[in-house]
Amino acid sequence: MAALLITWRQGVLVPAAKIAGRVKEFHFLEKPDILLLQKMLPVLLPFQKWSVEEVARFSSRLDETIYLTTKPVTAEIRQLFDLFHIKPFLWMNGIYHLENANKEQLKSLISSMKHSRLKDLKAAGNGFCELMSSIYYADPNTYKDLSYEAPLELL
């Protein structure tokens, strides 16, 4: 049990705390958002090793992007992130503590949102996935895997 607890602390809490310590540097992201990203990124973008540094880099890019949008869009994205922090919403999907949720539970949460009968929930599920994949593929470091030629070589 103690070993498990240590693993859990090392795997989740400690790294999350490390990034959360940088929250002051973010314009938009708040502490609970970092935990959400750390849990969700391996589910939505599972081919990438999500080390603490990678999550931090991603969070930074996400934060900068959201900072550039209009106020109404920023407010909507805040609502989107806050949705994942509403406990009854997570309970309805069998998740009692986000930090303890496993990949299958999170996958099922995203699927249930995307396939919901409620239009707003569907839009939230799709919007969250779209935002995450956009930020990921906005990074030119991802081009090589896609056989997408480095544009400069064309000129």
Partner: protein, 502 residues
Amino acid sequence: MILDGSTAFKNQELEVDYCIIGSGSGGAYAAKLLSLKGYKVAVVEEGGYKKTEDFKELREDVAYPNLYQELASRKTKDKNISILQGRTVGGGTTVNWTTCFRTPSNTLKYWQDEFDLPFTDESLETHFLAAEKEISVSEWEVPPNQNNSVLANGLDKLGKSFGHIKRNVKGCYNLGYCGVGCATGAKQSQMITSIPTFLKMDGILATRWRAFRFRHHLGKVTKLEAYNMPGIGNTHGDIKLIIKAKHFISSAGAIGTPALLLRSHIHDQSGLLGKRTFLHPTVLSGAVFNDDIEPHLGAPQTIYSDHHLWQDYGFKLEVPPVHPLLLASTLMSHGDEHRELMLKLKNLQVCIALQRDGFKDDSQGGVVELTNGGYPVLDYTWSKSMALGFKEALRTMGELQFAAGAKEVLPIHVRAKRVSNLIDFYSHIDELEMKPIDLKVVSAHVMGGACFGIDKSSSVTDIHGRLWGYENLSVMDGSLFPTSIGANPMLSILGHVHRIFS
């Protein structure tokens, strides 16, 4: 003279003959024509003044925040439709895919029948000729890239008609990165054509200023109030630019113009301001081929088909250029499934079907509304007949993709699966419900919202774009159209601006 709002530190005031809001196809062309007549003109543009040398990186992550409205992530109110609109000097013409069509004859005929508008192919001929000359529209002699070839081959095998798209380029390198700004200066955007002439004629280009409202009294606009836009973000500051002019022209696009007029509490007798806003709602079909398609390389749009355009739920077929960020945000899957398709980018072909919009009783378009702070949002709901059109379009695109040799076809829909034969494909399409949010719908053409007409009770402006009841306020952009065009609208906007000034 360039007046850069991003570095402004104190309020400023200008006085000119004409004040134009927006530097896209309507605004920049109007600015040039007026400057050449000897008028003192100021153009107010929310985006920055990016030039050819600024586009050398050819990167989506650089282009979208700098050159597009809301970082290329603008959506309708219900998040159902993604809208791509330019926000830079040259507007949409700087970032579009260089596709040039005149207003189709059938659209003009519909406008005559329904709105008594006096436009015909013949009456617009000289104006389209002038517009085509202005932006160097010509046949594209280079063979189509693989993405376009699939569209041509598939249609050909099915016995359906298709044509070759004319482009506004000079000395094009055939790179395929038009959407992130032309790095070679080949694209004859307004940034290349009208803006330099306008600047030479002592025009004032006020970039990174958000035109916020007109001040007006007794049917006369007295001034425009604009706010500075610091940095590259979308939030304005509190430094003011006041422009007094004899005449004001709004060319801020079919969301921006109605929003500006609504923020200004412009009196509209027809009740149509901001209403009947059309999008050419566009659905997508992806196909995986064994051969390399490389859909990001080569002139983006060179083949089209109007075979289905004038049927009951009509749509125009084209292809988009496929770059990583655009693809990633378009696919509706996530996790491994999403990654698998991203890794197939090289072998991926994508067709798009642009729905004709506004030609039926149940196709009334959307409504531009203002949120707190005056930001515009488009409330748009698609009609039942449009949903039937979407299904028909997805079916048609899949058929032609299989006919052209596709290994798998994927309609872009949250519940869609990749299917590898036509029989399974037909039953899969039948199962898919064309529900909002489930179906991916995008748009790069916004039209309407301040339509012209012959009668003030049924239109926002007269046929010259002058607002009814205002002696010195006009609209010159895609907002003027009473329906969608049924084709990419750039040339239609230029043609009408030329007509208005003739």
